[in-house]
């Protein structure tokens, strides 16, 4: 007989929350006021962080987990799930975030990596993790470490969708390649070796034709049309970082992006909600970024 007692923190409970966030928009916030604006605009969750990526780029220095007092303040302000970022490999920041009872942890390249050798072993936590990935291999490595949700890395804080687009295409290409080799055990094994993951994981992707967890777009989303493009590319939902609170009218832009994400195939609606939103965030041409200023190449 199975025990009738409820079981917490299983993978289906962790990935289940990600499934319930699908079709939604998750907004970066740094305080309670912004969190309330996000909830009122229809965000499915908020992401607590110390500074939005655009400010991290401008100010430099080490970007860390948000201060616990701020996270508590944000949690008290909203009823939707609260996510928070920790540094890549910083397992104690993750422990702290779990003790603060955040709903999801983002082990994020947007913060300064704490460990250049290893990511956090995410299996040991009851709180689910989301991680960034640029391609299928990166995504599967993070899933092997216990991630319950994947997002593209894009290039955060630029307001430029080009890198997220590159990562969505690379992910799809990887899935297509593995799928084409679905009947060839030897070829799947060589993919697994190349990606440094267990072959059973590659077989799963080959059989399903998609990642085994929910996959969101992130990094560079600045307009309702950007968000809808990510959805049409097959992403399950959208993270928006600096794009909201670095724009002229955050509440209006957040509402518009929520609508455009839900109705991603309706160009007339996207046109209507995009009217009179004021200036978007100040943007950066990704080609002008020097390698050390690219966040996406951190923690691969």
């Amino acid at each position: 007989m199975e025990s009738p007692a409820p079981i917490h923190g299983t993978f289906s409970v962790k990935s289940g929350l990600a499934q319930m966030l699908k079709g939604g928009v998750i907004l970066d916030v740094t305080n309670a006021t912004q969190a309330k604006i996000a909830q009122e605009a229809g965000a499915v969750a908020v992401m607590a962080l110390e500074r939005v990526p655009a400010d991290i780029r401008r100010e430099g220095g080490v970007a860390r987990m948000s201060e616990p007092g701020k996270i508590k303040e944000i949690k008290a302000a909203v009823t939707i799930p609260v996510m928070a970022k920790c540094r890549i490999g910083h397992f104690v920041e993750a422990q702290v975030l779990q003790s603060l009872q955040v709903d999801f942890i983002d082990e994020s390249e947007v913060l300064t990596p704490a460990d250049e050798e290893k990511h956090i072993d995410k299996w040991g936590y009851k709180v689910p993790f989301v991680c960034g990935a640029r391609d299928l291999g990166e995504a599967l490595r993070r899933i092997s470490e216990g991630a319950a949700m994947i997002r593209t890395k894009g290039e955060a804080g630029t307001g430029n969708i080009v890198e997220a687009m590159r990562h969505m295409r690379a992910m799809q290409r990887g899935i297509d390649e593995v799928r084409a080799a679905a009947k060839n055990k030897k070829e799947l094994a060589s993919f697994a070796k190349e990606m440094r993951v267990d072959v059973t994981l590659v077989e799963k992707v080959a059989a399903a034709g998609k990642l085994p967890v929910v996959n969101f777009a992130a990094g560079g989303v600045a307009t309702p049309a950007d968000a809808a493009m990510c959805m049409q590319m097959g992403c399950d939902g959208v993270f928006v970082g600096s794009g909201i609170f670095k724009s002229a009218d955050p509440a209006a832009r957040a509402r518009a992006i929520v609508q455009a994400t839900a109705h991603f195939n309706d160009a007339e609606l996207i046109a209507r909600v995009s009217e009179n939103l004021g200036d978007p965030m100040r943007s950066i041409d990704v080609r002008t970024l020097t390698p050390e200023n690219r966040m996406a190449s951190r923690g691969i």
Binding site: P4, V13, Q19, M20, G23, G24, V44, I80, Q101
Partner: protein
């Protein structure tokens, strides 16, 4: 047999999971259905049954209000809501945020996010109130930041179908009204089984025939 017109509300949440479970349920029960996703008020026209997936109830409510969908949805004879979907159907909701409107069609009370934050989310086998009608067997069904059913109006025809074994808290409830069938769960059976969807199709078909 007439083809049942079924929709899945596709604005936000676990939409694909409900599509898969409904297709599987139609295959198993041999009930012919026409299934479509629904994002606008126009797409609601002619529906006999609508599935309301779990997701964020504040987000769903806002999108439904913006698209003027709440009123036309009240006229659909069959509604099946999981988690946030049940919150939308309930007549009484504790913990609703300001401006959050629902359908107010089912005679139950729910408390939003009553089980707490994500680390309190869990999976559990369910206890059927009638062993002959055990929908989920020994499967463990996920409860994700789930609401609690706090009130049931038995006089209005609401019946508990399953509870949590240890606490006896109701987790699957139905309501039969003339020509209508409502089904609500605080958990997510669509992640594990099509059994609850099978019940929905069968009972909706029966309610429409009566």
């Amino acid at each position: 047999m007439a083809v049942l017109q079924i929709g899945v509300l596709a604005l936000q949440g676990g939409v694909q999971e409900h599509i898969n479970a409904t297709r599987a349920a139609a295959d198993k029960t041999k009930i012919p259905i026409s299934l479509r996703t629904v994002r606008t008020a126009n797409e609601l026209a002619g529906l006999q049954g609508l599935l309301l997936p779990g997701g964020e109830s504040t987000t769903l409510s806002l999108l439904l209000q913006k698209n003027s969908m709440l009123e036309p949805m009240k006229n659909i004879p069959g509604l099946f809501g999981t988690c946030a979907g049940l919150i939308l159907m309930a007549k009484e909701v504790e913990g609703r945020v300001q401006g959050q409107e629902g359908l107010d069609v089912m005679d139950v009370g729910v408390n939003r996010n009553a089980y707490g934050v994500q680390i309190h989310s869990f999976e559990s086998a369910l206890q059927a109130t009638d062993e002959k009608n055990n929908l989920t067997g020994r499967l463990r069904i996920p409860f994700i930041r789930a609401p609690k059913i706090t009130k049931i109006d038995e006089n209005a025809g609401v019946k508990v179908l399953a509870t949590l074994p240890k606490t006896g808290e109701p987790v699957i409830v139905e309501q039969r009204l003339a020509g209508r069938f409502y089904l609500g769960t605080t958990c997510h059976p669509e992640l594990k089984t099509s059994k609850v969807h099978e019940l929905f199709l069968k009972e909706l078909q029966a309610a429409l025939r009566a």
